[in-house]
Amino acid sequence: MTILSKTITAFGGILLAHACYSAQEHSALHSLRVATAASLTSSSTVANSLPIDVVIETIVATFIILLGLVLGTRPLRPIQWRVWAGKIEREGEDGFKDNNGEVNKDYMGNPFNFIESRPNFVDIRKQRKEFAEWVRTGGGGQSTR
């Protein structure tokens, strides 16, 4: 998906650059012609009309770039509470990765988890004992909560 979107965006970019170049060339030629016609009064109305094909090319290029960018965005986030919450529960970190496989910075897990884990009330001595116990019983085997 990402390669496709990148190719489309790059193609659109080339098209747009070409359109710009055409427009520039056209206006340069046009102003040259006006200058040779030597009309001093109309010198401010240089290059008023671009050829229709350049205009069309510009518009088409814009839309192609848009298409490429839209294809390249990551999936939209759920906006319904229960869908969002369900995604957190069901997919865990997997559901919040971007295209590069990195977990989003603002992913917090269940934002209400702290209500039950209560980090400010942590009983550190009990945790240490449990950890020592876990090490003694050959930790790294299975982990239980």
């Binding site: 009064t41 109309s42 010198s43 401010s44 109305t45």
Partner: protein, 260 residues
């Protein structure tokens, strides 16, 4: 209509280097200076004693109960409602219950509220003083020249803004003087400051003005507000809540909504 011939003014290119750049650099540097001055002058948020915290949080608690009553069953809500209303009406949560009913102290004599006002004054000063200084500096040194031409056409209305200090009637409004460059800098350097100083910097005055507009919780517990009246109003609000619970018929909603 006859074409207006394009005005060309021959300027010394040195103007560009000796006016445009200095003004911009000075503006950026003052912005940074202002940021750090504000950080230094900022007084630490005032410690609230237990009584004040209790007063404020009890009120907040009442509001929470009122706004999320639907999460409770009717019985739990009613018991909370009764408890809160009696406590509010008897003034049990007030900082000093014996002063109940008296008018609030004059905020001018209350030292705690004076401090808040001083803080605001300091912020205002940090904004006004550098601006005045720079403006007079620009007016003294660079007034009266045209320094650049904007690359887009403008209507005549902009003339007074952009050509302040240049009293020429027929000049195209695209030409701008140094004082208008200064104004452009004031409004346009916002993102530069964001880039240099991070998002919540004190240099961007626009943000400060925005902050002043939205009255936040500070306003709610600000000086001159009678907490007893707030409590009584809240008691009334809680009393009129028409209770329903989200738990009513939740199983039917579940069976309707979820298909296996």
């Amino acid at each position: 209509m006859a074409q207006v011939p394009v005005q060309t003014i021959h300027r010394d290119p040195q103007l560009f280097y000796w006016i445009l750049f200095p003004i911009t650099i000075v503006m950026i540097l003052t912005g940074i200076l202002r940021h750090y001055a504000t950080v230094l002058m900022a007084s630490a948020p005032k410690k609230l004693d237990q009584k004040t915290t209790r007063e404020q949080r009890s009120l907040l608690h009442g509001m929470q109960v009122r706004s999320s009553f639907h999460a409770l069953s009717k019985r739990s809500f009613n018991s909370r409602r009764d408890a809160l209303i009696t406590a509010y009406e008897s003034g049990a949560y007030l900082k000093d219950p014996e002063r109940k009913g008296q008018p609030p102290a004059n905020p001018m004599t209350d030292p705690s509220s004076m401090e808040g006002m001083m803080g605001m004054m300091k912020n205002q000063m940090a904004m006004i003083i550098p601006n005045t200084l720079i403006m007079s500096w620009i007016n003294a040194f660079f007034s009266g020249y045209v320094i650049m031409k904007l690359p887009f056409p403008l209507t005549i209305k902009f003339k007074s803004m952009l050509q302040a200090g240049v009293a020429t009637k027929d000049m195209d409004p695209r030409w701008m003087s140094s004082i208008s460059w200064y104004f452009l800098c004031i409004f346009g350097l916002q993102s530069v400051f964001n880039f240099i100083l991070g998002n919540d910097n004190a240099a961007s005055q626009m943000a400060q003005q925005m902050g002043q507009m939205g009255p936040q919780t500070a306003q709610m517990f600000g000086p001159g507000v009678d907490p007893n009246k707030q409590f009584l109003a809240e008691a009334e609000n809680i009393a009129v809540v028409d209770h329903y619970s989200v738990l009513d018929g939740v199983e039917d909603r579940l069976l309707e909504g979820i298909r296996v």
